[in-house]
């Protein structure tokens, strides 16, 4: 009896084994060309990537900056020709100087670039820069396009994000050139999809640049401020001042100090971008990164820890005060009140995540 069972078992297992081998073989045969193709593709891809030298990337970036300079030039021209704006010449000069800085700045002496920035600051200080009149978008065009293509309208922006990420991840071009290429391709798709000509593209470019205005250039100015701070030794001074109060070297304490300082400074200034350069140089680097914390984790979480502060401050007028006015709320701090519990919880989450992910 036992031997029969044994026999059956043996036969079945033998059969299954050969079946498996056959499937395996078959799979191999089927898979082989794909496999070949795939490895061929990978080899081809890395071969292509080897053509992308750092010089090429730099030159492409330069092209991107010149294009941005041309955007600013368009904004300058349109600002000057806007006769309803009483300070149209100042506004035009403001954009023209940015156009110069972006398109030819790298060939000018840095003293002149710095002087351009001083003039820009002066124009802004003397209230010589105003958005001016921006044409209302025709409702008819929007309705027609939406009824024609519906949700396909979202395609260009999805393409923009996905392409930029793919280029950053899988090519040697890097994220910055990736944004440029993705922007160009998604613009072509958007123009084809909405049947827009170059004139519409020009019109929308200058409209967007002008309405984003100086708020759009602020991040770069703040990054520049960071450079001046570094050159002046602000980072060392802050960290020295703070290390007198708190011991350096304790990971958890450093993380708490950095996240809380980001939130508090952001709340005071109403702007996380401004706080980021200062607090990261003064606290983030010496107290967390220099203690072995991963710079990418510290920087990424540091910025959003600052946003927890934005949620809690009336200084962030666009986010917390504007809705009060728009919706005629009774409590002027009503938005902040609703945001407070989440902001505190998120700040704690940031501290925990940074502590465990950075070290």
């Amino acid at each position: 009896m036992g031997s029969i069972i044994n026999n059956i078992f043996h036969t079945v297992s033998n059969f299954l084994g050969s079946l498996g081998a056959l499937i395996g073989r078959f799979g191999e045969i089927i898979w082989y060309p794909f496999n070949f193709l795939f490895s061929g593709f990978a080899a081809w891809w890395s071969h292509l990537n080897s053509f992308i030298t750092p010089e090429l990337v730099n030159n492409l970036l330069l092209v991107c900056f010149v294009i941005i300079g041309l955007f600013f030039l368009a904004a300058a021209i349109e600002s000057v020709s806007d006769r309803t704006n009483p300070v149209r010449w100042g506004t035009g000069l403001f954009w023209l100087l940015f156009a110069v800085l972006f398109s030819v700045g790298q060939w000018l002496p840095n003293e002149i670039n710095g002087a351009c920035l001083l003039v820009i600051a002066l124009l802004s200080l003397l209230k010589q820069v105003r958005v001016g009149q921006i044409k209302q978008l025709p409702k008819k065009v929007a309705d027609q396009t939406v009824s024609r293509i519906g949700n396909w309208l979202f395609l260009p922006s999805i393409l923009l994000a996905v392409l930029a990420l793919l280029i950053a991840q899988f090519t040697n071009l890097g994220g910055q050139v990736g944004i440029g290429i993705a922007a160009a391709l998604s613009l072509i798709v958007a123009m084809a999809l909405t049947r827009s000509n170059v004139k519409v593209a020009y019109e929308d470019t200058q409209r967007m640049v002008r309405s984003v205005g100086s708020a759009g250039i602020l991040p770069q100015l703040l990054a520049t401020l960071g450079v001046v701070f570094t050159a002046s030794g602000v980072g060392q001074a802050t960290s020295k001042a703070i290390s007198g109060l708190f011991p350096v070297g304790n990971h958890l304490l450093g993380v708490i100090l950095y996240c809380v300082a980001m939130a508090v400074f952001t709340a005071v200034m109403g702007n996380a971008f401004a706080a980021f350069a200062v607090i990261t140089a003064g606290i983030g680097i010496p107290f967390v990164v220099a203690q072995g914390g991963s710079p990418v984790v510290v920087a990424a979480l540091g910025m959003t820890a600052g946003y927890c502060g934005t949620l809690m401050t009336p200084m962030a007028a666009n986010f917390n005060t504007l809705p009060v006015a728009l919706m005629e709320m009774k409590n002027p701090l009503g938005v902040i009140k609703q945001q407070f519990p989440i902001a505190i919880c998120m700040l704690i989450v940031h501290i925990i995540l940074m502590y465990f992910l950075a070290f």
């Binding site: 840095n110 922006s157 930029a164 160009a184 450079v227 990424a300 919706m327 938005v335 998120m346």
Partner: protein
């Protein structure tokens, strides 16, 4: 950089000599108390720029001017001369142009905005019927997070919250009975909050967003270069956790509203 360091050491030397002369002065005792025995007042004076930035932003002065003035003050009090300051400022601006790369995405966004980006989004959101206020906020925050991840940063408060989400949530809240004034106000606040949550904690999911560009370029000038895609990866847990918190928070909001209506 080098120049400022030389300047720095010159200044501190100047200070040391003046210190030895005044060593027995009583006011110098206070000075030691605040700045330590090395007496590097100048080193701390460069923090004046931070003060300018904090006060300027807090007083809502012109932002562009405040930033440049803060840079000027910082440089001058740390002993950098004016021409060197212009050099550092100009070079710093040119080296950080990548922060403004997001301007390249404006033509695309502008064109789809002209052709009804808002209208198409409103159509999507209008499909939310027979929901509680909390559920409407849940869905709106999710939409906002996804949109942020694709680089669409509209003025949510102006374009969606005030004209669309708040009226929808108010109407949904009235299904079980009239709202008190406080409850109506709370719904407004929560509507505005749900835009900010989605906007803030998901905007770094887009590699081309100005905040990711600012983070990478600041870290580069601070001497710790990082990859933009790394910032995106680190933001994923933040966006998810924030959304989970919102779900719980909105669930309790609905529950509270329901209890008050049943009384």
């Amino acid at each position: 950089m080098l120049l400022c360091k030389i300047n720095d050491s010159l200044i501190s030397k100047k200070y040391e000599t003046s210190l030895t002369i005044n060593e027995n002065n009583i006011s110098m005792f206070n000075y030691y108390l605040f700045f330590g025995k090395e007496g590097k007042l100048m080193e701390y004076l460069c923090l004046l720029g931070i003060l300018v930035i904090v006060v300027g932003f807090a007083l809502k002065l012109d932002t562009v001017a405040v930033v440049v003035i803060a840079a000027l003050v910082t440089a001058l009090v740390s002993g950098i001369d004016f021409v060197t300051f212009l050099k550092i400022l100009g070079k710093g601006f040119i080296d950080n142009r990548m922060v403004s790369l997001f301007f390249l995405t404006l033509p695309t966004i502008g064109i789809i905005e002209r052709h009804g980006l808002k209208e198409a989004s409103v159509n999507l959101l209008k499909k939310l019927k027979n929901l509680t206020p909390g559920r409407i906020f849940d869905i709106y925050t999710a939409v906002r997070e996804v949109a942020s991840a694709f680089g669409i940063s509209l003025q949510g408060q102006v374009q969606f919250i005030a004209p669309l989400i708040n009226p929808m949530a108010q109407a949904a809240g009235k299904v079980n009975g009239e709202l008190t004034e406080l409850e109506a106000d709370q719904i407004k606040g929560r509507a505005a909050a749900s835009d900010n949550f989605g906007n803030f904690f998901a905007q770094n999911l887009f590699v081309g967003s100005s905040s990711v560009l600012l983070i990478t370029s600041t870290m580069k000038s601070l001497g710790h270069p990082i990859a933009a895609s790394g910032v995106v990866l680190c933001t994923i847990p933040i966006a998810i956790i924030c959304y989970i918190f919102c779900l719980i928070y909105n669930h309790f909001f609905d529950k509270k509203l329901k209890v008050s209506k049943e009384k």
